[in-house]
């Protein structure tokens, strides 16, 4: 099934009365360090049927804004300003009066669907309770309506599923239930706080579609809070960019992406990897860190990271000003930027910022596509298999099935090369990585590291040389670093494990810090006192300590903010070039993978369904799953995002415990749906073997239908 999302008709913003008006909203929390000014004066109007996206990095105050509108802030928070809903000010209302409005005039969709539903009630009960709070309905009538709502948000077999409990649903299905709860009483305003952050891209596309449909159905205005500029480009009518607790730019979606005017917006867009941008453009990291919102100094909070700041920026915080033909921008130099006489990225970076280094690294990234460094084979995986028993029962565990997490996976990786393993959660990509890192004998198949078969060598070698050759950088840098160890000890630990003496450890730690661009002074700090980007650099430095040949990168960027991501991407590229490392990257974000990978392997249900050079995969994907995956990733460009052809997948990845006999993708395959009976029979009964694409021997895919 393919469909194209058209650009929404521009609604004339003049005569309609706003569904929601927010005026000078201010929110502060007490904290150990002082009062946190999380939101410092936010204004906007939301018209019925329109979508306002609030976009910002973590800590910018966007979630606090959402909670402030709903009146769901913790009691210690202080809320000021006005939240006008249908002419009534919600600020200062007591809980009983607010509860009459919540759920009936304003509904909310939360970030984490796994914890948002009460585990002890069936979803039908949750929905009919939500209906009966505001409407005088019999239990039976409410249940009927609940079933209809479940049907509306696309839950299959809603009549039977209504009696199921939340834990019996997948994450995507739970998020549909949360949306059903939010629209149960047809509110005039919907607030969605990062509704798809916890979900896979193909599911994200479905959920955003449900949200759009729910909005159409109810005619509600939608406040969509996200950090993903691609989602913004695809769904917003208006965009507000939030930084340090304020809107720094507010404009129509077309205007904002066409000419980002606040330097922060411009730099943010330049730092986002783009999955479909043709050739790779170099990423330019912003440099520096967002300010903490305690005792914020006067002046523009972005000034210290801004390339075009003036002396005046340090004194006065600019207000949002109207810029003709664009929107509202909070920048002293907005008019210069808007009329094109000033490049917001600037030519001379401010003193003391690592932006210059970042740009040099970026230039290297642009180059590396041409430098084909192909060394010896560092990692060879042949027919790797990993299964887990599925057990039932608490006291006496009995085995009821087998989960085929990794099924006959083969690939090889050379020094200086990057292979990206991509796929949705549950596709087996992380299990593959962990099997390699475990350095044990595989269940079936072979793993060869730098020419040594891992399964046959004595354990002394395994724990000695092999351990040094393979290292890992983990997803969440805060979780991967022991919070009770200072940086020096963190970096010394792998060296101590291989028995280095004290002097050489000291020297090596110093070397490592320099290598990843960290200052010597961080070596006494604990991870909690470092910024996100610094922590990930420590994580990388630690992985490099034993001079490995192969670095496994498990979602190395997904925990980082966009403005910090670019710097780490560039660092990884430089390290690979200088040290001749082989990278095995596991990631779900294809746009990031495109920036760092030479080759890509797409995994689905434990199988590699397509593999090939990065550009070949992106420019000419063969397997229907790859195509769907690529088209599900939102592009940060409204024109392209709304006009491109999309392959929307039905349903969700099934459990690897019930593996189909034929092609693993058959349940969701769009080609299968349109295939003739003979092909359908083959798809159902034969597992497809990898076949090379026409004229490209290294580009292989496993599909009967092409």
């Amino acid at each position: 099934m393919t469909l194209a999302t058209p650009l929404l008709d521009p609604v004339p913003p003049t005569d309609a009365t706003p569904a929601l008006s927010v005026r000078d909203l201010r929110i502060s929390f007490p904290s150990e360090a002082g009062t946190v000014e999380a939101v410092r004066g936010v204004d906007f109007d939301l018209l019925p049927g329109r979508t306002l996206c609030i976009v910002g990095e973590s800590g910018s105050g966007k979630s606090a804004t959402a909670m402030g509108i709903m009146g769901l802030l913790p009691p210690s928070a202080e809320l000021r300003g006005q939240v006008l809903l249908g002419g009534q000010d919600l600020v200062g209302l007591d809980d009983p009066s607010l509860s009459k409005i919540r759920g009936s005039s304003i509904g909310m969709v939360f970030q984490d669907p796994l914890s948002a539903l009460t585990p002890i009630f069936s979803v039908g009960r949750l929905l009919s309770d939500a209906l009966r709070v505001h409407q005088d309905l019999t239990k039976r009538a409410a249940w009927e309506q609940a079933v209809e709502l479940l049907d509306l948000v696309g839950i299959p077999d809603p009549r039977n599923r209504a009696a199921s409990f939340p834990h019996e649903f997948s994450g995507g299905m739970r998020q549909r239930v949360v949306i059903a709860l939010a629209i149960a009483n047809r509110p005039s305003v919907l607030v969605a706080d990062e509704p798809t952050t916890a979900l896979d891209v193909t599911v994200q596309a479905q959920i955003l579609e449900v949200l759009r449909q729910a909005q159409r159905e109810t005619g509600a205005g939608l406040v969509l809070i996200t950090h993903d500029l691609g989602v913004v480009a695809g769904h917003a009518d208006d965009v507000a960019v939030m930084y340090a607790g304020r809107f720094v730019e507010r404009a129509g979606v077309g205007e904002l992406f066409r000419r980002p005017t606040m330097p922060y917006t411009a730099r943010l867009l330049a730092a986002v990897p783009d999955v479909e941008g043709g050739a790779r453009k170099p990423l330019v990291p912003i440099g520096g860190e967002p300010p903490t919102l305690v005792n914020l100094p006067s002046g523009c909070p972005f000034a210290s990271r801004c390339a075009v700041s003036l002396d005046a920026c340090a004194h006065d915080e600019p207000k949002l000003r109207h810029v003709t033909g664009h929107g509202h921008v909070a920048c002293l130099r907005a008019f210069e930027i808007a009329d094109g006489t000033l490049d917001p990225a600037g030519d001379t970076p401010p003193a003391g910022q690592p932006a210059a280094a970042g740009r040099a690294e970026a230039a290297e990234v642009a180059l590396r596509g041409e430098v084909a460094l192909r060394g010896e084979v560092v990692l060879r995986v042949e027919d790797l298999v990993k299964t887990f028993p599925v057990t039932k029962g608490a006291l006496l565990k009995r085995r009821v099935g087998t989960l085929h997490a990794v099924n006959r996976v083969s690939f090889e990786l050379r020094a200086g090369e990057t292979l990206g393993l991509v796929g949705e959660s549950g596709s087996g990509k992380t299990t593959t990585l962990m099997e390699i890192l475990r350095l044990g004998r595989p269940e079936a198949g072979r793993i060869e590291i730098a020419g040594t078969d891992v399964g046959t060598v004595p354990s002394a070698v395994r724990h000695g040389q092999l351990r040094q050759d393979v290292q890992i950088v983990m997803q969440d840098p805060l979780g991967a670093l022991d919070p009770r160890m200072p940086v020096f000890h963190l970096l010394a630990e792998p060296l101590r494990a291989i028995g280095r003496d004290r002097e050489s450890i000291r020297a090596r730690v110093h070397e490592l810090l320099t290598l990843v661009g960290l200052d010597e002074s961080v070596s006494d700090r604990f991870p909690a006192a470092l910024s996100g980007g610094q922590r990930q650099r420590v994580g990388i430095a630690r992985a490099l300590a034993t001079e490995p040949k192969l670095l496994a990168l498990d979602e190395p960027l997904s925990a980082l903010d966009v403005s910090v991501q670019a710097g780490v991407i560039n660092l990884l590229a430089r390290l690979q070039r200088d040290l001749g490392l082989a990278y095995l990257v596991v990631a779900h974000d294809l746009s990031v993978v495109r920036y760092i990978s030479d080759r890509i392997a797409v995994m689905y249900l434990g199988h590699i369904v397509e593999t090939g050079d990065t550009e070949a995969i992106f420019n000419d994907p063969q397997h229907p799953y790859t195509r769907a995956l690529l088209s599900a990733i939102p592009i940060p460009d409204p024109e392209r995002e709304r006009t491109r052809e999309r392959v929307v997948l039905q349903g969700e990845q099934p459990s690897a415990a019930r593996m189909p006999a034929g092609c693993v993708f058959v349940d969701r395959c769009p080609l299968y749906r349109s295939a003739d009976d003979e092909l359908r029979h083959r798809c159902r009964t034969q597992r497809p073997e990898p076949t090379p694409a026409a004229g490209r021997p290294t580009h292989q895919y496993a599909c009967h239908g092409i």
Partner: protein, 316 residues
């Protein structure tokens, strides 16, 4: 009382508990962290009161005997069952023993037992609990089965049974109380350790080739830190209570030795006729346990970075 792991997310998302600027020079952060804990602890007024009471009790146990010439074994036959007076500050019992001297000695005995048992219990429980969690598999299942079994067997009865024969000597009592007292703490440590075992930094250490013993000692046990310290203080309370119960029933410390528990037992029969025999040891026991609880509460709030009390401006 489980640790309060809840947190108000928006406040924490935007403000990190450790101020970023504090770590700009060498050694500042570690010092800063210690000072932060101290500041959070001192903010809890009851915890400070607890420290003061506990310090006074320790002083009393250590130096109290200097202010009297009598020992707890001396009998003053001229003053049997006397009310508190200038001569006998806490009065005397039926045998003419000076209650003040007895109380000093009893407190000393009870404190020694409580602190030793609590420390030993924590050590045993930490090793068994975190070891079971880290190794998992069969080791974990067997350990848990043993713990559950011992928790279900009325361990107090077994305690009484064993100490009836062996006790009398307070050192034996320490061993017995430890042997039958580590299970519930071990279970708590185990359940927290299972979540630590899944932490990325533990996995990272494994992938770096760090050995299991070192992982337990360097990564798991230090990160149990606040839990261990809090359980140490609560362990003192629990030990005082079970020592008192055992001695009260005649299974703990035996005459001629004296503990707070035996004093309670001796005073129990004359609550109405000679209340001071009961009141002084009872008061000391309660002061001891309450002060330890206050300290434990304060430590938990101070060491647990997610505690609501610590960040939201204090409750008491």
């Amino acid at each position: 009382m489980t640790t309060n792991a809840s947190t108000n997310a928006p406040a924490n998302a935007s403000a990190e508990p450790v101020p970023r600027a504090a770590g700009s020079t060498r050694k500042r952060t570690s010092l800063g962290l210690g000072r932060l804990y101290l500041r959070r602890f001192l903010r809890n007024r009851l915890a400070v009161v607890g420290v003061v009471i506990f310090a006074l009790l320790v002083l009393f146990a250590a130096l109290g005997s200097r202010f009297t010439s009598r020992t707890y074994t001396d009998a003053d036959f001229t003053a049997l069952t006397q009310q508190p007076s200038a001569r006998h500050w806490f009065g005397t019992n039926q045998g003419g023993n000076d209650i003040y001297a007895c109380a000093v000695h009893g407190l000393q005995r009870s404190l020694t037992i409580a602190v030793s048992v609590s420390v030993l219990t924590i050590v045993v429980a930490a090793i068994i609990g975190s070891g079971a969690a880290y190794f998992g598999g069969r080791v974990e299942r067997v350990t848990l089965a043993v713990i559950h079994f011992l928790l279900i067997v009325p361990s107090f009865l077994i305690l009484a049974l064993v100490s009836h024969r062996l006790a009398g000597d307070w050192r034996v009592l320490i061993v017995v109380l430890t042997v039958f007292g580590w299970m519930s703490t071990a279970r708590v440590i185990w359940s927290v350790s299972t979540s630590l075992r899944e932490r990325d930094y533990v996995k990272a250490a494994e992938f770096m080739g760090v050995g299991p013993l070192r992982i337990i000692l360097r990564h798991i046990i230090p990160n149990l830190g606040s839990l261990l310290i809090v359980n140490l203080t609560l362990g003192v309370v629990a030990t005082v209570l079970s020592e008192t119960a055992l001695s009260f029933l005649g299974f703990g410390v035996q005459t001629p030795d004296v503990s707070l528990g035996t004093m309670l037992a001796d005073g129990a029969g004359t609550v109405t006729s000679a209340p001071w025999l009961f009141a002084f040891p009872a008061g000391l026991v309660v002061l001891l346990t309450v002060s330890m609880t206050f300290i434990g509460d304060g430590l938990r709030d101070a060491l647990d970075p997610t505690s609501v009390t610590g960040s939201a401006g204090g409750r008491r």
